[in-house]
């Protein structure tokens, strides 16, 4: 009972902290975006559009008003749940995010699974096999993979598995024709698996899986180096402790020692690491999304910055901050479940 009240209080306090955190972040982004030269209307310039038309556009976007008025106006619309519209296209920002966020979620989940599986596997191998031919390889893997720029890794996979052997498509989320089919879903969730089932075309799921493999491998292998390192170091520390020696001396089977004491204890730092990585991935992997033309929010916010689309960038950052806060909270809850010693 005491633990439940404590967890509830903890969750409430985290939610309360999240709100000012999001507003501080929004303020920083607001200032930084306006510090950059140019504004959304700059994208139209370079043609002989009459100055009065450009001035009117700026006025419509409120850009002719003092900065503090623009800030107050924006914050009050966010408080009303209105993230605004993109500057030139006039697409609601919330709609844009709803279109693109599912793609990012799909990529985040698939690459996280690959990262964790490969990383934990290699970390366990490195920790226990002290034979020269295996342990150095695992350590070398971790160092090399992490030092390769992720976009280069993506290009390598694209060139070899996509173009060279021709096993997988080189870009996009589904084949273009299947895009048309999915557009006919009665309700668009923008998650390919769900929409494929809604239009009665489960074969599109396989098309989608073939498209997601290369970007997931790229990000997954890149991040697996972190998980491998964390797993290796954590296991080394745990298995050198006295309680492990004591357990072995009491005659406990090695398999029990490893799974009950070793791996379970590794789950704590792994959970933290996984949570942080997933939160980062949900913000969008700009470079990977660009290489593979993956329509996620990473490339969306990059486009927004280039176009100086204030509402778009601010909207994406708001959602991202919310995602990070929720993910961190979930990590803490899982933490408490994995480690009964944790109290709030």
């Amino acid at each position: 009972m005491g633990e439940k009240i404590s967890l509830k209080t903890y969750i409430l306090s985290r939610i309360l902290i999240t709100i000012p955190m999001i507003f501080i972040l929004l303020t920083i982004v607001f200032i930084v975006m306006r510090a950059l030269p140019g504004d959304p209307v700059s994208m139209l310039e370079g043609k002989d559009i009459p100055e009065e038309v450009l001035a009117r556009r700026r006025a419509e976007l409120g850009l002719d008003k003092p900065l503090y008025i623009q800030y107050i106006s924006y914050i009050s619309s966010v408080l009303r749940g209105d993230l605004g519209v993109t500057a030139l296209e006039k697409v609601p920002v919330a709609q844009y995010i709803a279109m693109r966020l599912p793609a990012t979620v799909e990529l985040a989940i698939s690459s996280s699974i690959i990262a964790i599986l490969i990383g934990v596997f290699l970390g366990v191998v490195a920790s226990f096999f002290k034979q020269k031919y295996l342990m150095p390889l695992a350590r070398i893997y971790s160092s090399i993979v992490f030092s390769i720029p992720v976009f280069y890794l993506g290009l390598l996979f694209q060139a070899s598995l996509g173009v060279g052997i021709g096993l997988f498509p080189t870009g996009g989320r589904v084949s273009p024709l299947n895009d048309i089919v999915l557009s006919e879903a009665p309700v668009r969730t923008n998650f390919v698996i769900i929409d494929s089932l809604l239009v009665g075309r489960p074969d599109i799921i396989l098309d989608f899986l073939s498209h997601i493999i290369l970007p997931s491998l790229t990000l997954g292998i890149y991040l697996s180096s972190i998980f491998a390192r964390v797993t290796y170091l954590s296991l080394q520390e745990i298995l050198s402790q006295e309680f492990v020696v004591a357990a072995r001396s009491r005659g406990l089977l090695d398999s029990i020692i490893i799974w009950r004491y070793g791996v379970r204890n590794v789950l704590i730092p792994l959970t933290t690491m996984a949570g942080l990585q997933i939160a980062a991935l949900l913000g969008g992997a700009v470079l990977t999304e660009t290489v593979f033309s993956w329509p996620g929010i990473g490339s969306l916010v990059y486009e927004g910055i280039l176009k100086r689309d204030y509402a778009l960038v601010q909207g994406v950052v708001t959602i991202y901050a919310f995602i990070v806060a929720v993910t961190n909270l979930l990590v803490d809850i899982i933490y408490a479940y994995v480690d009964p010693r944790v109290r709030f």
Partner: protein, 548 residues
């Protein structure tokens, strides 16, 4: 030792499971590849004799372009948005495919008053909007009024042309021009997308936002639009003209030229159009599985701008010296591999009314270092007191090879031994701000025409009332007067006036024209109907792909 045994057993099981999973995934993948659901290709009928080829139902066009604003003809001003509108709508006049000739489209005939200020235009009686309601002269006039009233970015194209218009009856429009403009000039403006009739019964008096557009008269209509991802067009069942052979056109957006190239090479798309790098084009020309279709290019033309209010460019001798040093052939041969662009010696492109190679006549077609040095010395510079310049460019907006182009120009100018050049770059929004605030004095730009008339290549650059957007600060009353005069003159006199303008501005050299790029589409071998002409309109309605 025991630990190792335990791990060995666990490892063995794990590895076995992973291998099994890999085998299952491979088997499923191979099954799926071989048992692909039938595509939406049209299959030939087996009940009738095989007399005519059948066509693919959907053609997929990949592009790195994007729609900057909306698909409302009263607002759209970017290449792709306008091009899509040009496949969904029509104007009174249009360019005949493959030519620069303006022909009647929705117009049937017209008469011009003796003072050239009043046009009476008869229009088709069989044209219908997408809801199959008939188009009348009242609809055309309403549409023009809508464009002018909304006064968005391109509204001036007809706003500066038309004083007022009225429908005399269902099929006759009377247009009162603001000035007695030359005939082809008027037709060119009335052929632009901003003058396309839209259905007044369904069109609001405000800009229509994505993912919608307006009901127009054209071979295609908008079926679906996912901003940033794709646009899907389907045939308009109420179109009065020939139905396209291809039922659906899917325009898919790509983030970069590399992805676009891979997509067309792998057959994921049928056509790649705008923009592949010259190196990619060179490789693709040699790919036997693809075809590269080329066409004359005037969008963009590329040029170098000086702010003539700022030192040292307020000195004509410096500008002329640079004009003598520019090596256009080095740019064409190095960056465009000798074949994907042409040197440009006037802001009026090759093929346009009144084009004259004025820069070539004055400065030659090869660098003249000695002449440049002479001018620089007269301007007070020499080998010990060098002229230091900054050359600005923007790396992404025009061509991926922009940094290489800037490097070649730097090299050309430094060949004089008297000039030193620093290269600087910025993304477009920053770049635009820099020259708008006149913080830079020499920069590279490109021009996409609004309409196909020589006026659109002289007025925005050289007329002191129209070139304020460029911040070149060039003011020459003689040139202003000549520009105002040429659009009111009959063709032969107009050509002579255009020659005069080009000679004067070449001598003054506030802007140095550099090159014009060709247009290129890379397509699968079965795709036909790709016509790239001087109109710069990519006509999706002519495309088809035969299937056996």
């Amino acid at each position: 030792m025991n630990i190792k045994k335990a791990i060995s057993r666990t490892m063995t099981i794990t590895i076995s499971v992973l291998i099994l999973i890999a085998i299952i995934i491979s088997a499923v993948y191979i099954w799926w590849q071989s048992a692909q659901a039938p595509s939406t290709l049209t299959t030939p009928s087996i009940t009738s004799p095989p007399t005519k080829p059948k066509y693919k139902e959907t053609i997929i066009i990949g592009t790195t372009d994007s729609i900057q604003t909306t698909l409302d003809p009263a607002e759209a001003y970017d290449y792709l948005g306008v091009n899509i509108i040009q496949n969904m709508g029509e104007g009174l006049f249009a360019y005949e495919p493959g030519t620069a000739k303006l022909v009647n489209k929705l117009a049937v005939s017209y008469t011009i008053s003796p003072d050239r200020k009043v046009w009476d235009i008869k229009i088709r009686s069989d044209a219908k909007f997408q809801d199959c309601s008939p188009m009348t002269a009242y609809d055309v006039v309403w549409s023009w009024n809508r464009t002018i009233t909304l006064n968005q970015d391109p509204a001036f194209l007809i706003g500066d042309l038309i004083d007022r218009a009225e429908a005399l009856d269902n099929y006759t429009i009377r247009v009162y021009l603001k000035q007695p403009f030359e005939e082809t000039y008027v037709k060119a403006l009335l052929s632009t997308w901003v003058a396309f009739p839209v259905n007044p019964r369904t069109s609001p008096m405000e800009v229509v936002k994505p993912p919608k557009t307006l009901d127009m008269i054209g071979p295609y209509k908008l079926e679906d639009w996912k901003p940033g991802e794709y646009v899907l067009l389907t045939t308009n069942p109420c179109y009065y003209g020939d139905k396209p052979k291809t039922s659906k056109i899917l325009i898919k957006f790509y983030k970069d030229p590399q992805s676009l190239r891979l997509a067309v090479e792998k057959g994921e798309i049928d056509i790649a159009f705008r923009t592949l790098s010259p190196t990619d084009l060179k490789d693709l020309v040699n790919n036997p599985k693809l075809q590269v279709v080329a066409g004359p290019g005037i969008a963009p033309i590329r040029y170098l701008v000086f702010n003539v209010n700022k030192e040292p460019f307020n000195n004509k001798l410096v500008r002329q010296a640079i004009a003598y040093l520019i090596d256009r052939n080095a740019i064409i041969n190095t960056v465009f591999l000798g074949k994907f662009a042409q040197p440009l010696y006037s802001m009026v492109p090759i093929g346009f009314l009144g084009h004259k190679d004025s820069f070539k006549e004055i400065y030659g077609d090869k660098p003249n270092i000695e002449k440049a040095k002479e001018l620089l010395r007269k301007a007070g510079y020499n080998e010990t007191h060098k002229l230091r310049l900054e050359l600005w460019f923007t790396p992404v907006r025009y061509t991926p090879a922009e940094p290489d182009i800037a490097a070649i120009i730097k090299q050309s100018l430094e060949a004089s031994g008297i000039i030193e050049v620093d290269l600087k770059s910025a993304d477009w929004a920053t770049y635009r701000t820099l020259f708008r605030e006149e913080k830079i004095s020499m920069w590279l730009l490109g021009w996409f025409p609004d309409f196909l008339d020589s006026d659109n290549y002289v007025r925005p650059f050289y007329h002191s009332k129209a070139n304020t957007w460029l911040h070149v600060n060039y003011k020459n009353p003689v040139v202003d007067e000549l520009i105002d005069k040429q659009i009111l003159q009959p063709t032969e006199e107009r050509i002579k006036t255009l020659y005069q303008i080009q000679d004067i501005v070449a001598d003054d050299a506030p802007i140095i024209p550099l090159w014009q790029e060709g247009q290129y589409a890379v397509a699968q071998l079965n795709v036909k109907g790709i016509i790239l002409d001087i109109s710069q309109i990519f006509r999706y309605y002519l495309l088809y792909a035969e299937v056996s």
